[in-house]
Symmetry: C2
């Protein structure tokens, strides 16, 4: 894409009223627009990042048998009353409104109830199970506070998956497969080494649930971690009983600041009992379905990646989620060969990795500052200097390292190898 065509512009000043680092940088670099506190629009660059994160999650959920669908935002009061979760005293994040035809309607802050209820149309026999479904849904939550940018908003995109099994054994098998799938997601997002499966408080059915926590200095959560043993405990369940159960002492654990990037939950049969979701087993008995839920906050992940990797110059995207594979910076030059070379490199490389081409009529310094702020991992600098030998400079955003390579080599796009 030609940068001169992109309608967004970078800005030097931080937006007013924005206290979070992630939203500050994402707004300044032109990725998002703040509609109101905790509510952000995704501009062309931001939407590209969003779709790339979704694509990674989609691939990994499909790989473990997930079937994608999309539920609705509008929610029936009667359904949520069945599980006693309509009341504002029970769930304090509902947005609710009045239907013109009469009656109250809610806006989806979560989707266990409608998905489990829908399954009554498709589950009758043990032969119908297991079923794994997921969606990327825009959740609406009436949060009292919204000061964490895209990391905790009133409107955000979440991947929520639900499993429906004949019993605990099958459930546990899928639950563990999901843990592995989630870790593959985090690895591809560039946070695999700093993300830990963490024991957190459970629910009616289980002592613990599991969260995925990523180390980040600005994180809102605190976990207690033993990296070697790969044991991580959320402070909310750090007590003698938990330590004994996990066979570890307080002294072996370090306290680290983290942000939650996923959680998985064993519902047991509670939801199915509440909503009448049964199947018939081989002996003809009616048995409640065993359910689990599995969440990843997609827009939250974007905020986390910004907070974790940004430096004083701006955003640094991990390779797989960057809006483009490379950022060509054409240095103003009186020799028209310079621009011609840049366009040639663009044409070939764009088809291969997607390229943002800074073709704007600006000084080199401004272009460099913008590129650093926007955070595409590799900058390809085309200047007069390389015209004679047809070379370009490739700069790694993360390290600032520069290598000079030939045009033939740059269009192959294998930039990682240049810096390892």
């Amino acid at each position: 894409m030609f940068q001169s065509h992109l309608f967004t512009k970078t800005r030097k000043e931080s937006p007013k009223d924005e206290v979070s680092k992630n939203a500050d940088l994402l707004i300044r670099a032109g990725y998002i627009h703040k509609e109101m506190a905790g509510v952000y629009a995704y501009l062309p660059l931001g939407l590209k990042v969003l779709e790339k994160v979704k694509a990674i999650v989609r691939e990994e959920m499909n790989a473990i048998g997930g079937q994608e669908l999309i539920m609705t935002s509008l929610q029936r009061k009667e359904l949520w009353e069945q599980t006693n979760r309509w009341g504002d005293d029970v769930v304090d994040v509902w947005f609710k409104s009045e239907l013109k035809v009469g009656g109250e309607v809610g806006f989806g802050w979560s989707h266990e109830e409608p998905i489990a209820n829908m399954m009554k149309s498709y589950v009758s026999s043990f032969r119908d199970l297991p079923i794994f479904v997921y969606q990327f849904q825009t959740k609406l939550r009436n949060e009292l506070r919204a000061k964490s940018g895209v990391m905790r908003g009133r409107e955000f995109v979440m991947k929520d998956m639900y499993s429906f099994c004949i019993g605990e054994a099958d459930h546990t098998k899928f639950y563990n497969e999901t843990i592995e799938a989630y870790m593959r997601v985090y690895k591809r997002l560039g946070i695999g080494d700093d993300t830990f499966v963490t024991f957190a408080s459970g629910g009616a059915f289980t002592q613990f649930s599991h969260e995925f926590q990523t180390i980040v200095p600005t994180g809102e959560d605190k976990i207690y971690l033993n990296r070697e043993k790969k044991i991580a405990i959320n402070e909310e369940v750090l007590n003698e009983e938990t330590l004994q159960k996990l066979g570890i002492t307080r002294e072996e654990l370090e306290e680290v600041k983290t942000a939650e990037v996923g959680n998985i939950f064993n519902f047991g049969t509670q939801k199915s009992l509440d909503l009448d979701l049964y199947f018939t087993n081989e002996s003809g008995e009616k048995i409640p379905v065993w359910m689990g839920s599995y969440g990843i906050g997609i827009t939250r992940i974007i905020g986390l990646l910004v907070e974790k990797f940004a430096d004083e110059k701006g955003i640094i995207w991990p390779r797989e989620v960057a809006p483009f594979g490379a950022h060509i910076i054409l240095i103003p030059s009186k020799d028209e060969k310079t621009s011609l070379r840049a366009h040639e490199v663009y044409k070939t490389l764009n088809a291969r990795t997607g390229v943002l081409f800074d073709d704007r009529d600006l000084r080199a310094g401004e272009k460099f500052a913008d590129a650093d702020l926007m955070g595409i991992p590799y900058h390809i600098i085309v200047s007069e200097r390389g015209n004679a030998e047809r070379t370009v400079e490739v700069k790694e955003r993360k390290t600032g390292k520069v290598v000079v390579i030939s045009e033939e080599k740059v269009v192959q796009g294998n930039f990682e190898a240049l810096f390892t």
Copy 2:
């Protein structure tokens, strides 16, 4: 995809309380689930169709310079008050709620206001224009009636595009390019020959707006059409003045029932004046931006395609929007070669066009009925009969015509050519 893995099932009975043909068929075939009146979830097959329609629209909007973004559902009261569209007496489809922090919030039923308002951050000089942006947004509208299935719901997906130009000449140029882009979309959707640019009532700035109307017997609209002259007039503006202006007589027009599949609108500078969206021209003068808006109801299109093409056996999808390129029907057989052949054809063809493979343990008649209901345009019937000469039957859903071809030929996937 193996049909045995798909969690949805077809049903023979029409759902209760569903009066529209489109929702009836889409529910029975497992494409959608009704959450409440006018509110439908999209199941795996339905989501595939939705994404295919979006992909066509996206390609054509990108081709005319559209930049994709995604605005928010939550809307600020103060912004809509600026254009006098917050009041329920002016806009009767608002869903509204209370923020926990205090104050009212709306749910996006349209997005001109927030998009125009956002552009104030990016438009200052004539050099910044024109800008064309679009989104696929889930709109929420508090409709009094919702009896048209996915064709007019309380929650639906719309592509809305907005143009920002320096004046009327540039606006008109893009407006006309959009008309052509829309007609390319309808052609790819299989409704090009039956879709007409139609004169409809205008707004503050223009005598007419333009709708795109598709002929369909169950349509809610009525237009007056001259196919030869390609003149179409919505009944709401059919009067002497219009006829004179368009140089046509009432006698030259036939009355046809249609459904609206798109509309485009010239805002002039009204919105920009209301919202203070100005640019500075070459002489340094402050000028309000000239705006237009361009809508296509994505989920509405899905309903239209069902209503227009379905027969007594079920849905018939146009090729470009079908959830899969072909539907393999394996006829139960004691010769294991039959199943082996079906799996081989599946493997190659699935990679090429996407295939639904009916591998279920059911009688042939049930499989045929399901395939007819689901409406994938080409059925590939693999039976014992073809084992000796390694042939399969390809049936065109629309016409019921069958041709027998070799396995080598079927995996090439070029089915259209077989029936023309």
